[in-house]
Symmetry: C2
Subunit: 193 residues, 2 copies
């Protein structure tokens, strides 16, 4: 019962630190203090482990994003709240999201990519909808909703990546509000703002 969670926790940490393909099943179970049959009993395969890992954590991530996106504020306020979801480290949120990204970049023929791609697309669609729902604020977007969404996600992702890089191996990553607001503001009004 508890072994299941231990395996998932170990796997998340190892995948996040070394990459999905660079981590062996043996290493995961050792880190979790169990043996291989236990892992294969719960998850069936290494891929199955990754799938449930992503799925379970993604639910919460999506919920958080959706919640932030449905708040009663103007677009900048919404984007700020969404950004905060990404920069707020709920200990596992960041690791999951970075794993998602890493696998998304890992090449289309990679097993991890195939697992992760649909989830990334769902995130993209959520962001596109944010801009569509702000049509009254933005006016005619001339079909550029997707461009807006991709740009915004890209900005968030890269800032996140750089933060993780700067912080080194530190566990906690805290991003001050003003910095998040600065990023959103620049996105909204350009770099002259």
């Amino acid at each position: 019962m508890d072994n299941r969670k231990a395996i998932m926790e170990s796997a998340l940490n190892l995948f996040y630190q070394k990459g999905y393909d660079a981590v062996g099943v043996q290493e995961i179970v050792e880190c979790a203090g169990v043996t291989k049959p236990t892992l294969y009993h719960y998850f069936g395969s290494k891929r199955g482990l990754l799938e449930t890992l992503i799925q379970v954590h993604y639910e919460e991530l999506e919920k958080n994003i959706r919640c932030a996106a449905e708040c009663e504020e103007n677009l900048p306020g919404k984007l700020y709240r969404v950004a905060r979801v990404f920069f707020d480290d709920n200990s596992s949120n960041i690791r999951v999201y970075m794993l998602l990204l890493a696998l998304f970049y890992s090449g289309r023929k990679n097993e991890g990519f195939q697992v992760v791609a649909p989830f990334v697309q769902r995130i993209c669609r959520m962001f596109i909808r944010i801009f569509e729902n702000a049509a009254d604020e933005l006016g005619n977007m001339h079909g550029r909703q997707k461009q807006f969404a991709i740009s915004f996600i890209g900005v968030l992702d890269y800032h996140l990546m750089m933060l993780i890089n700067d912080y080194g191996d530190a566990e906690e990553i805290s991003v001050p509000d003003e910095q998040v607001r600065g990023v959103v503001q620049q996105f909204m009004y350009g770099i002259y703002s």
Copy 2:
């Protein structure tokens, strides 16, 4: 003599499609039509192969970016030229850059990350310098050069990734000028422009 290039070409394709860790040395040499000792003669190790692969291609990428960044235009013009370097598929440029990114996201304890991190940092510094050199256009940036640079790179990367994803397995990826200009313009003047 030619075997060396064949190995590098095969490795680049395989790493790009399946990820560094998911590709075995055996697969590389088979794809190149040689045997393992040939690879180890030229590159010493799998890591050595990756290092020379990145190094050789990076030189050209950096040259192209630097060239675009030194043109005699205003900032939007410069950014447009730089963006074009990224979106112009010189058959190998995109593959190399995406490999660079994939490894950068792959986790700090990953072998590939350690190889690639210094190159990504060099790219970042180049972008930061672009904004610093535009101080006369931008005025006092209040130390936000790095934020500008990271945001811009993030926007480019994610657009690139999405393009590759939309195009599927197609070899050639052509991005119309207007789209590139749209992205740069949004970055410069915000989404109301």
